[in-house]
């Protein structure tokens, strides 16, 4: 079943016939068409090498599409000038599997860093960082260094950093990939809370249990193409699931 986009809320993200071929010749994405309305919570699933991370990299404009157009907030980001790129990225909160924390900065400094590089005044930085750390449940750990935190806590710091400039869109590439199931679930709750506050969430994941339990929108990618787009989907589609059951 292909999702008919919800036209009540305007699309934040729209992919129009997007192709991505890497310089190596790998065709990572082929003719992707995807509309994400504001406030959506979307899982990107698919086997390894399907093209999920490529889609994420296109979305944050780390890569440009080879063909086709990507609109975010009505702006075609493939054509965006390099000069404008930082301002675009400030509208997005990014979370990765490997956290990408700076080891020589404390928890507080890591979160504050994201605002400091924008040249924000100290008072605002302090207030927002404290708020973000509170949101992810890390109040009290401000002065700890990342190496002294568990994986789940490190990912919380990364999420706090993604939240600190109040983005309307969160993009996460396998944020629970390095976490045990219980911790992964806690982290996922956090994303749900952020989404409930109105932020659009796009998450590439391999976490079958969580996807199947939450029954949110699922876009399955296979060999660079969208194989499935279900409004409240599962990790595997029903056909293959029934095949699995039958065996």
């Amino acid at each position: 079943m292909v999702l008919t986009p919800d036209f009540d809320s305007r699309p934040v993200i729209s992919f129009q016939h997007v192709w991505k071929t890497y310089p190596t010749g790998t065709e990572a994405l082929r003719d992707i068409n995807l509309v994400v309305p504001e406030g959506d919570f979307l899982f990107l699933v698919g086997p390894s090498g399907a093209g999920k991370s490529t889609l994420v990299r296109l979305l944050i404009r780390e890569e440009k599409p080879t063909k086709g157009k990507i609109f975010v907030d009505g702006v075609e980001i493939g054509r965006m000038k390099r000069r404008k790129l930082p301002y675009y990225r400030r509208k997005i909160g990014l979370v990765f599997q490997d956290f990408k924390l700076l080891p020589n900065l404390t928890v507080y400094e890591n979160v504050a860093f994201a605002m400091r590089v924008l040249g924000e005044p100290d008072r605002l930085v302090q207030a927002r960082a404290a708020e973000a750390l509170d949101t992810v449940g890390l109040a009290g750990k401000e002065l700890t260094y990342p190496s002294n935190l568990s994986g789940g806590e490190q990912q919380r710091v990364a999420i706090a950093r993604a939240l600190v400039h109040a983005p309307r869109m969160i993009i996460a590439d396998e944020p629970t990939g390095n976490l045990d199931p219980a911790t992964a679930w806690e982290i996922m709750q956090l994303f749900l809370r952020i989404n409930a506050r109105g932020a659009t969430v796009v998450m590439a994941t391999h976490n079958r249990e969580i996807v199947d339990l939450l029954r949110r929108r699922v876009v399955a990618i296979d060999a660079g193409q969208i194989a499935r787009d279900d409004r409240s989907g599962r990790y595997h589609d029903d056909v293959s699931k029934s095949q699995v059951r039958a065996q």
């Binding site: 944050i60 390099r82 000069r83 790129l85 930082p86 301002y87 675009y88 990225r89 400030r90 990014l94 990408k100 700076l102 860093f113 994201a114 400091r116 590089v117 924008l118 040249g119 924000e120 005044p121 100290d122 950093r161 400039h165």
Partner: protein, 296 residues
């Protein structure tokens, strides 16, 4: 703006210390280069001091007047020269004045005593504005009807030309050496910055992801480059200031006939050149470095 500057300064300072070995190697190399450059400037300055004295002398040409030339003819040449744009000044020296001057020169004491009558010519001394015009004034003088045909002027064309050429070649060589030194320093700074960028690649990646502008990311590296250049320039300057007076003294002892002197005024211009040069080379090297290695 102020906050960004503070951040950049902080982060440049940290980076400098974090890669202390590389930073020091760069400072040392650039110090050596600036010392070479400074010595080059000092030698150039000393030479131009000597040359200035020489120019002063050879830019005055005296035209010897034949004894039978009427005064009217001398005056008309004098007037002609006075309005010539190439000429800075003209002075007529009569036979008597010439003899007087000759007698009063202690070097000529013996010769003067033996003089019978006045064998000296009257002279027109012409001060030429530009050394390269001396030759044409000389030609003009030799064509004048009143010139002493046996000894027309005191112009030594070959010598002047050779000196001029030598000074020109020395100038070129000095400039060429400076250009090479500048290029080497810029490349050294570029490589230092590349190392610094490599050490901070994680930080740069995070900055990129949270939306730091390109110049926010690059700024600290450029400041680090300028810092490296300035520190090197300060050390080089200190060493040169210490070594300059004794070097001049040594030179004077060894080669007394060249009128070289210690010139404290030159030190301030040397300080300006070295500090400005160091900072500029640091800025250019790191600018090229960050443009190549820090991309958003």
């Amino acid at each position: 703006m102020y906050r960004n500057l503070k951040f950049a300064l902080n982060s440049a300072w940290q980076s400098f210390w974090r890669n202390l070995a590389v930073s020091l190697a760069a400072v040392l190399s650039i110090t050596l280069i600036l010392i070479l450059g400074g010595v080059n400037l000092l030698v150039g300055h000393a030479f131009s001091q000597v040359l200035d004295g020489f120019r002063e002398k050879v830019s005055v040409i005296s035209i010897n007047v034949a004894d039978d030339t009427p005064l009217q003819s001398v005056y008309s040449l004098q007037d002609q020269l006075k309005v010539d744009p190439r000429v800075a000044g003209v002075r007529f020296i009569t036979k008597e004045q010439a003899l007087d001057a000759f007698r009063h020169d202690p070097n000529n004491a013996v010769l003067a005593a033996q003089l019978d009558g006045n064998p000296l010519d009257a002279k027109i001394e012409v001060r030429v504005r530009n050394l390269s015009d001396v030759a044409s004034i000389d030609t003009l003088a030799r064509q004048w009807s009143g010139v002493d045909p046996t000894n027309p002027t005191n112009y030594q064309g070959d010598f002047v030309n050779r000196m001029l050429q030598l000074s020109q070649w020395l100038g070129y060589a000095g400039a060429g050496l400076l250009v090479i030194l500048v290029i080497v320093s810029v490349v050294i700074v570029m490589n230092t910055i590349r190392t610094a960028v490599y050490h901070r690649r994680k930080e740069i990646e995070v900055m990129k992801l949270v939306g730091a502008t390109e110049w926010f990311v690059r700024g600290p590296f450029v400041i680090e480059g300028v810092m490296t250049g300035l520190i090197a320039a300060s050390i080089a300057l200190l060493l040169l200031v210490i070594a300059y007076p004794p070097a001049v003294q040594q030179f004077k002892n060894d080669i007394a006939f060249i009128p070289l002197s210690y010139d404290p005024a030159f030190l301030s211009s040397l300080a300006r050149d070295l500090l400005l040069g160091g900072a500029l080379m640091g800025a250019v090297g790191s600018y090229i470095g960050v443009r190549r290695y820090v991309r958003i």
